[in-house]
């Protein structure tokens, strides 16, 4: 699923550009499942915005509405009236939903309420990890179902590099809260980022292929990757002739 995390309230408030009537729009699909931008979160954010703007002495009328998917026109059509009545929309969808909303309601100011973080899965309640970077040329068949493009810190395709130790990558991940690095005070009284361990994807690949008796898959050289199927080829598009609706008449 697409995983997102709400932006800090101050950032959202600042992005409203002085709007007096605001709609917070939730999305009922991925961001509902990852508890970042569904109906409940839309209601909570609307309430928080009302309070924050009232406390700041410039109260804003905030309502909320949630649709099944903000990335499909037919669902957006259903909220045309509340959106048209507002000066601004805070979309709690992923970046796709925000853009769909901005395109569909060209006269309305649309801002994101989330940071779209990655394509991933819930490891357990409250923890999500990245799994896919949409490189457009899936190599999971060669790597035992573990993606080095999304999960190796250096996207090494012939790993593991020399930084793998006890199943962990040599780098540490900066722990974030609403996208902002969490810090702690170190022994010298200096603020430093809180970090956590990162699994070495190539360690996992090696272990899995070994268990499956398929280390032969990584014995040969994985040649230079064709990144043109990735973002590097420009914005991507798929056209399926078999699905196109023919213009009747």
């Amino acid at each position: 699923m697409i995983v997102g995390e709400q932006k800090p309230l101050e950032e959202i408030t600042a992005s409203l550009g002085g709007a007096r009537r605001v709609v917070v729009a939730g999305c009922g699909t991925c961001v509902t499942v990852c508890l970042a931008g569904g109906e409940k979160e839309a209601q909570l954010l609307a309430s928080a915005l009302r309070m924050a703007t009232a406390l700041a002495g410039a109260p804003v009328a905030v309502s909320d509405v949630t649709v099944q998917r903000q990335c499909e026109w037919e669902y957006l059509d259903a909220i045309r009236d509340p959106v048209k009545a507002a000066d601004a929309v805070v979309s709690l969808a992923c970046g796709i939903g925000v853009q769909a909303m901005a395109r569909h309601f060209a006269d309305t100011w649309v801002v994101p309420g989330l940071n779209t973080t990655f394509l991933g899965l819930p490891e357990q309640q409250g923890i999500w990890t990245e799994q896919c970077q949409c490189c457009g040329n899936c190599m999971l068949a060669q790597t035992g179902g573990i993606c080095p493009i999304a999960r190796c810190s250096k996207q090494v395709q012939n790993g593991p590099c020399g930084g793998s130790e006890n199943g962990l990558c040599e780098i540490k991940r900066v722990v974030r809260d609403h996208g902002v690095p969490v810090t702690r005070t170190d022994a010298r009284g200096k603020q430093v980022p809180v970090t956590e361990d990162v699994e070495c994807a190539w360690h996992l690949i090696h272990e899995r292929l070994k268990a499956k008796g398929r280390l032969d898959l990584i014995t040969g050289l994985m040649p230079a990757k064709d990144w043109s199927t990735s973002r590097d080829g420009g914005p991507r598009r798929i056209v399926r002739e078999d699905l196109l609706l023919l213009d009747e008449g």
């Binding site: 250096k154 090494v156 012939n158 050289l221 230079a224 990757k225």
Partner: protein, 325 residues
């Protein structure tokens, strides 16, 4: 140059290894400034002592003078550079453009590296490139030289870059059992020589080399073992506890600790002097021990920000004067 007596590059390092001499390489970190005198001074410590000097490429992800620029200064100083090229900062276009420039300016050895992650350095918010990984870079270098074509397949229109191609190896990194296999992959990808991570644990390295020999990889590329003098117990413990792919046996720590045993703690300078002298002695003994291992073709002496230690180490190991090739 391209038809010179069957040499791939004709570099001193290649000639030295081909002639069967025990090779010695060193390391030169470019400055975090434009000060070329800094590089020339370091070159002075290493000239005539090593066969080639690794010129690092934004090592530990800290911005420094480019490895190309500093390599050219080394050439001017009469020292042969082993230019490092990381996959972190350049895509395949930029790498190849720099190969062409480097060769035209007299660089003959190129070392392909993945590169330290930017989060370790002074620009942690930078975007990393990793268009290729180090093995793919090795293949690109080999194809440029042996097939005279760019990575895309287009021919080089004129003189091709003919580098003696190097790689790095981490014999003690995990999974340990995969490391000899990975070295074999690097040989197959195009590495002519490899320099290892610092070795302090000789039994572990011997085990690695046993497997390397079993795979026959030592006949496909030259293995230069990484060695480095310890400056004191703190450095030894840091290596042991914080550097992936390096193990430091207890007896090594005890010996460096013991070097300053009779000197009172307040005599800091004296203690440091004693540790450093012992660090150099230990490094010399280590080289002598590693040299006996079948398949070891040389040493890569890493005395980071301590270039003046290299000469006494190489001399002490009986490797001076360097043979003429």
């Amino acid at each position: 140059m391209s038809t010179s007596n069957g040499f791939k590059s004709g570099s001193t390092l290649e000639r030295m290894l081909r002639a069967g001499h025990f090779a010695v390489t060193g390391e030169l970190g470019p400055p975090q400034s434009c000060d070329s005198h800094h590089i020339r001074e370091k070159c002075g410590h290493l000239k005539g002592v090593v066969d080639g000097v690794n010129v690092t490429d934004n090592q530990t992800a800290v911005v420094r003078m480019s490895s190309l620029g500093a390599s050219v200064i080394a050439v001017q100083e009469g020292l042969e550079p082993v230019m490092q090229m990381t996959c972190r900062d350049r895509n395949r276009l930029a790498m190849q453009a720099d190969y062409l420039a480097a060769y035209a300016l007299g660089v003959r050895n190129m070392l392909a590296l993945t590169g330290d992650h930017q989060s370790f350095g002074n620009h942690p918010t930078a975007k990393n490139v990793h268009d290729l990984d180090s093995l793919q870079q090795l293949r690109m270098l080999k194809e440029l030289r042996d097939e005279k074509r760019f990575q895309c397949g287009d021919p080089v229109k004129g003189q091709e870059p003919r580098f003696f191609v190097g790689a790095a190896a981490a014999p003690e990194a995990h999974p340990v059992e995969w490391r000899p296999q990975r070295l074999a992959k690097k040989a197959a990808a195009g590495a002519d020589f490899v320099q290892t991570q610092l070795v302090y644990n000789v039994p572990a390295f011997k085990k690695y080399m046993e497997e390397v020999r079993r795979l026959g990889v030592h006949e496909e590329l030259s293995v230069l073992v990484g060695v480095g003098p310890l400056k004191g117990p703190a450095m030894a413990r840091h290596m042991r506890d914080h550097v992936p792919g390096i193990t430091v046996p207890e007896h090594v720590i005890e010996r460096i600790e013991g070097a300053a045993a009779g000197i009172p703690p307040e005599e800091k300078a004296e203690r440091q002097k004693a540790w450093k002298a012992e660090g150099i002695r230990m490094c010399i003994e280590l080289i002598q021990e590693l040299r006996e291992i079948e398949g070891v073709a040389g040493v890569h002496v890493m005395a980071i920000e301590w270039e003046e230690a290299v000469e006494p180490i190489v001399r002490g190991a009986g490797l001076l004067p360097r043979p003429g090739v």
